[in-house]
């Protein structure tokens, strides 16, 4: 196992590469989740803001 991790002396380079890919994927996936939650929050805010306008007129207006 230790020998495998050493990658014939190139362990530092190989695992720095794969490690950064792992970090990049995690950062992107966590960011996606957060983006989604923020989007729904903004949607709720915007709709709440416009709710009074809609109450005045008939039907929903497109932005």
């Amino acid at each position: 196992m230790i020998e495998w991790l050493a990658m014939g002396g190139y362990g530092f380079y190989v695992w720095s590469s794969y490690g950064m890919l792992a970090i990049a994927l995690i950062v992107e996936l966590v960011g996606l989740r957060r983006h989604r939650r923020e989007s729904w929050r903004r949607v709720a805010d915007m709709r709440a803001e416009h709710a009074s306008e809609w109450a005045a007129g008939p039907g929903e207006s497109k932005p």
């Binding site: 014939g8 190989v14 590469s17 996606l32 989604r36 989007s39 729904w40 709709r47 929903e60 497109k62």
Partner: protein, 265 residues
């Protein structure tokens, strides 16, 4: 959509509207996500457990299994992004601009990963993390194009104006992609030539090639899954006041953004 009058029984037109694309994308995400995971596991298995040690580079060559797929994905994603930008400029379609916007961060991520892994491959094989070589420099420009695209969008408040400005930037920058691709042929570079080509036999062992192609397919599936996920967030925000987002909001309850993700809304 259900109107029998429209000639567009064609699936493409049916799903060109955000209201009908949103649920379709939600159904597709788990499939592409699962495909990405399975292909990546298979690719890593073949790459580390089956593929032999390179006679010249030892184990350092195993970086290829992520370096080449990341570089290909960064270039290809840019072409797809530019394609959506061209559509949005030509036809002023809402969805195509949103697709371009959804692809940019993932393209930037892959461009960064290709530069990073290239640096950690270059050090043991060339003796330097970075050289101002044609291919490396043009790939760095690709990363800056992605970042510029994202920054330009973020700096313009009106989404339709942001669509147009960023689309022009993306289309001007598309010239960089063939420059990256052919750079190893046009200039005398330190970067090695194509590992595989359409016309010649691959210059690598069969198992190495299989691992690299599995990882490439994994990158494709990942990019599709992530772009679909991101475009859904972009869609609801940009169409926040339209009826279909209201329906979704009412269905799920406004204060309950679920953590489980894709298919719930």
């Amino acid at each position: 959509m259900n109107s029998p009058v429209t000639p567009s029984g064609s699936i493409w037109f049916r799903y060109a509207s955000p209201a009908s694309f949103y649920p379709l994308a939600g159904r597709l995400i788990p499939w592409f996500g699962a495909a990405a995971a399975i292909l990546a596991i298979a690719g890593l298995y073949v790459g580390f457990a089956v593929a032999p040690t390179d006679w010249q580079q030892g184990e350092a060559y195993r970086i290829i299994f992520i370096h080449v797929p990341a570089a290909w994905m960064a270039m290809f994603t840019y072409l797809v992004m530019a394609f959506w930008c061209a559509l949005s400029l030509a036809f002023n379609t809402r969805l195509s601009a949103m697709m371009a916007q959804a692809l940019a961060p993932t393209g930037a991520m892959f461009a960064f990963v290709s530069l990073w892994t290239g640096a950690f491959w270059g050090r043991p094989t060339w003796g330097a993390y970075w050289v101002w070589d044609a291919r490396l420099t043009s790939t760095l420009i690709l990363l800056f194009l992605y970042l510029g695209f994202i920054a330009l969008r973020a700096s313009i408040d009106d989404p339709r104006r942001a669509d147009r400005a960023s689309a022009v930037l993306a289309l001007v920058g598309v010239i960089n992609v063939p420059i990256i691709y052919f750079s190893v042929r046009w200039w005398n570079t330190l970067h090695q030539g194509s590992t595989i080509s359409m016309t010649a036999a691959p210059k690598m062992a069969q198992t190495m090639l299989v691992a690299m192609l599995l990882m490439t397919l994994a990158a494709w599936a990942y990019t599709i899954a992530v772009a679909l996920y991101r475009v859904r967030s972009i869609m609801i925000e940009r169409e926040a006041l339209s009826g279909w987002v209201g329906d979704l909001e009412r269905k799920a309850g406004p204060a309950a953004p679920t953590l489980t993700g894709a298919t719930t809304r």
